[in-house]
Amino acid sequence: MADKILNKLYIKIWRQKNSKSQGAFETYELENVSQGSSFLEMLDILNDQLIREGNDPVAFDHDCREGICGMCSLYINGEAHGPDTEITTCQLHMRKFNEGETITIEPWRAGAFPVIKDLIVNRNAFEEIQQAGGYVSVGTGGVPDGNAIPIGQDDAEEAMDAAACIGCGACVATCKNSSAMLFVSAKVSQFAKLPQGKVEGKRRAKAMVSKMDELGFGGCTNTGACEIACPKAISISNIARLNREYLCAKLAD
């Protein structure tokens, strides 16, 4: 079955020259977009049109285009990664949009994620949080024999679920407080559940939370919006675990 063609779309995009300049919305008309094309392909078509007209193409982040690298972002029609569940923007397809629709595309909005150009934001804040403690520095030896370190199935599953975080920032973009708690809680949980990670658990929770606060992310108010927006469906149970880890660590001080 051939894909339907959207004869006309109105693409309302945030344009901003650089981090210093004032940005503004710009609306472009786009014709003949197949519903089978991906959202980023649609932007490629738009950019092709802009370049042919002698205009500056829209800058947006993308890399693997298969939902695992965490590069793509975009706040589309009021939702991080657009109107579909458990996907990144590169996995979004134009079949989610209708003929004649105006599609509003904005960069992630957070003080800690400043806009670099158009739709690209600087997510170095996540790197800084990771550098504060999102690693294991104790010697864990070589690859252990299977079953040499017994780890319960539930623990392994929960650690893996948390490790699915690709650091895209949709949680920050969606949270009304621009809080990074879901990200930090995933990074803390993936270690907290495993014996190699537990050793530095206290230090890690304290260091990562304090970095998160320092970088200007807001606090968590448990609205749960982040887990709905998360392309990897990371659960806010991780946030409860982070709270637990952090409070126990502080208690031991």
């Binding site: 807001g218 448990n222 149970s237």
Partner: protein
């Protein structure tokens, strides 16, 4: 300790602990207030009020309760304003993930309305009972065979509800607002102190909803009773 108080989780911890403390108070308050509708002579309610007013443990708890309210209210403004600052530019296309009327998104507004109600409520009752004694008459109630003289608090409360449908409605609306605040607040407070996981999540959310309904309906039923019966 100071780094804990300044951290985002630390601030939230105080919101949670004070919130849970306020919920405990609200439950005690509700159970005593319900005596208003179980005895139209007012003796039961007056005995309870007399007991609370003369009990030394309650005397100690009164300033603690005031402190709990103050910390909860001051912190709520500090946290909410700080959180707003984390997003200097807001979205043009809004938020499609959560409904704009979700209690979790409107805790300061709900709390603020409850606060406005509290000011009125304290002026109407607490202020009169403790400070001015305006409109309070003495009654004699038989307690274990002895006639005890006490203040007729029942007459003041029942008098207000019998005389003004407007006040009844204000009290009913406030009960609903408090219920909404708690429908998010109860499970959120436990989540904040780390008491949550995949399994407990649903239990806590259901418990919060039940608690919210009990508190909202429990408080609303009192003015309703006086509106309908008298």
């Amino acid at each position: 300790m100071s780094s804990f108080m300044k951290s985002s989780i630390g601030k939230k911890f105080f919101m949670s602990v004070t919130g849970l403390f306020l919920i405990t108070f609200i439950c005690v308050h509700l159970s005593l207030n319900l005596l208003l509708i179980f005895d139209d002579s007012g003796d039961l309610f007056n005995m309870a009020a007399h007991f609370m007013a003369t009990n030394p443990a309650i005397k100690i708890m009164e300033p603690v309760l005031a402190l709990g309210f103050l910390v909860h209210i001051i912190w709520s403004f500090v946290i909410t304003l700080e959180n707003r600052k984390a997003r200097p530019i807001s979205y043009n296309s809004g938020d499609k993930v959560l409904s704009p009327i979700a209690p979790s998104k409107n805790m300061l507004i709900l709390g603020g309305l409850v606060l406005a109600f509290l000011v009125m409520h304290i002026a109407q009752f607490w202020w009169k009972f403790k400070i001015t004694h305006e409109g309070l008459t003495a009654v004699h109630v038989m307690q274990s065979g002895v006639s005890v003289e006490m203040e007729n608090a029942y007459a003041v409360v029942a008098g207000l509800f019998k005389s003004s449908a407007l006040y009844c409605i204000i009290y009913i609306v406030a009960s609903g607002l408090l219920g909404l605040h708690i429908s998010h607040g109860f499970w959120s407070a436990l989540h904040t102190i780390g008491w949550n996981n995949q399994i407990w999540r649903k239990r806590l959310e259901v418990a919060a909803r039940i608690l919210a309904w009990v508190i909202a309906v429990g408080f609303a039923i009192i003015p309703l009773y006086f509106m309908i019966k008298f």
